[in-house]
Subunit: 143 residues, 2 copies
DNA sequence: CTTGATTTTGAAATTCAATATCAATTATAA
DNA sequence: TTATAATTGATATTGAATTTCAAAATCAAG
C-alpha cells in the first residue's frame, strides 16, 4: 500500500468521508500514470479497469486528492485543468513543449529568490506563483 | 485618432476586413479603460455607449485586436480570459492581489536572463513565458 | 452618388468543461 | 444486522466561448 494511499485513507477518515472502490481505483490510476493528466484522460484510463466509474466521481475524487495534498491542479488556461503528483514533490515550475506537449519540471533557486525580493520591494505578500515557459523541447528540436 | 486606431484601420484593410461602428467603439472602450478586463466587463461598458453592440462582436473584435498586436490575452486559468493593452507595452509579468484583484505589472531583467539560461541548459527553445505571483498587495495589507 | 459582391452583425443555438441534482446504492459504526 | 449518512453515475445544468444564419452594413467599382 503506497504512502499516498495511507494519507488518503487517513484524510477520508478525518473528514468523515468513505473509502470506496472508485476512490481507491482513481487514486491508483493517478499514481500509476505519472503525467500531467486532464480529468478526461484520467477518466478514460480508470474506466478500462472499472467501466462502472463515472466522470463525476473522477472530478470529485481529484478535488479531494488536492485537498489532501496528494494532487495539485495545473491550470495553463487552455480550457482543461490538469493534475500532477504533489506528495513527495517540491514546488516547481514548467517548461512546456508546444509540439509534443511534454512537461519539463524545473526549479531555479536564484529565480525563486529574485521573485521574493521583487515582492518585498513592492510590499506585496507572495502566497504562490506560477511560472510557465512555452517553447520547443530538445527532442522536438532535433527532428 | 489614436495610434492604435490607425494600426487597426490598416490591419483591417490588409486583411480585407471592414471598419464598422461597433469595431471602432470596442477599440475605443478598450483603450479608454486601461485595465485587465474580461470580455463580459468590456461588453457591459461598451454597451452603455452603444446598446446595440452584441457580446459576440466583442469576443470577435478582441480576437482581431490580438491578431493586430493591439491587445493581448491574459489567461490566469480562472475561467475568464482577460485582455490588456499590447501596443506600446513591453513584455511584463504580473503580481495579482487575490483580495482586491489589482494587477501589478513587473519585469525583472535578472529573472528574464535566468529564464533564458535555464532553457538553454536544457536545450529548450523558449517562445514565450508567463509568470504570475499571487498574494496580497500593499494597500490590502495595510487594512 | 448607386450598385452589388462580400463582410459583419446580434440573437439565438451550440459546444465544452465543470458542477449540481437526485434516486438508488454502499460504507461503516453501533 | 441495522440505521444513518455518504457516495454513486446518469442526467441536467451552468457559464464562457463559439457557431449559425438571415438581415444589415461596408466599400470598391462604375
Ligand atoms: Mn509538474
Ligand atoms: Mn499586464
Ligand atoms: Zn517536445
Ligand atoms: Zn489588493
Amino acid at each position: 500500500m503506497s504512502e499516498e494511499m495511507n494519507i488518503f485513507v487517513e484524510y477520508l477518515k478525518k473528514k468523515d468521508l468513505k473509502l470506496t472502490d472508485q476512490r481507491r481505483e482513481i487514486l491508483n490510476t493517478f499514481l500509476r500514470i505519472d503525467k500531467h493528466l486532464s480529468v478526461e484522460e484520467l477518466y478514460d484510463i480508470a474506466k478500462k479497469k472499472d467501466p462502472s466509474i463515472g466522470q463525476a466521481t473522477v472530478f470529485r475524487t481529484l478535488k479531494i486528492l488536492c485537498d489532501a495534498d496528494i494532487a495539485k491542479e495545473v491550470d495553463l488556461g487552455d480550457g482543461k485543468v490538469r493534475y500532477e503528483h504533489k506528495y513527495g514533490h517540491e514546488h516547481h515550475d514548467h517548461l512546456i513543449c508546444t509540439k509534443c506537449g511534454r512537461f519539463i519540471e524545473v526549479v531555479d533557486s536564484q529565480i525563486e529568490k529574485l521573485q521574493e525580493e521583487m515582492c518585498k520591494q513592492r510590499g506585496f505578500t507572495q502566497k504562490l506563483h506560477k511560472m510557465e515557459i512555452f517553447g520547443i523541447c530538445k527532442n522536438c528540436r532535433k527532428k
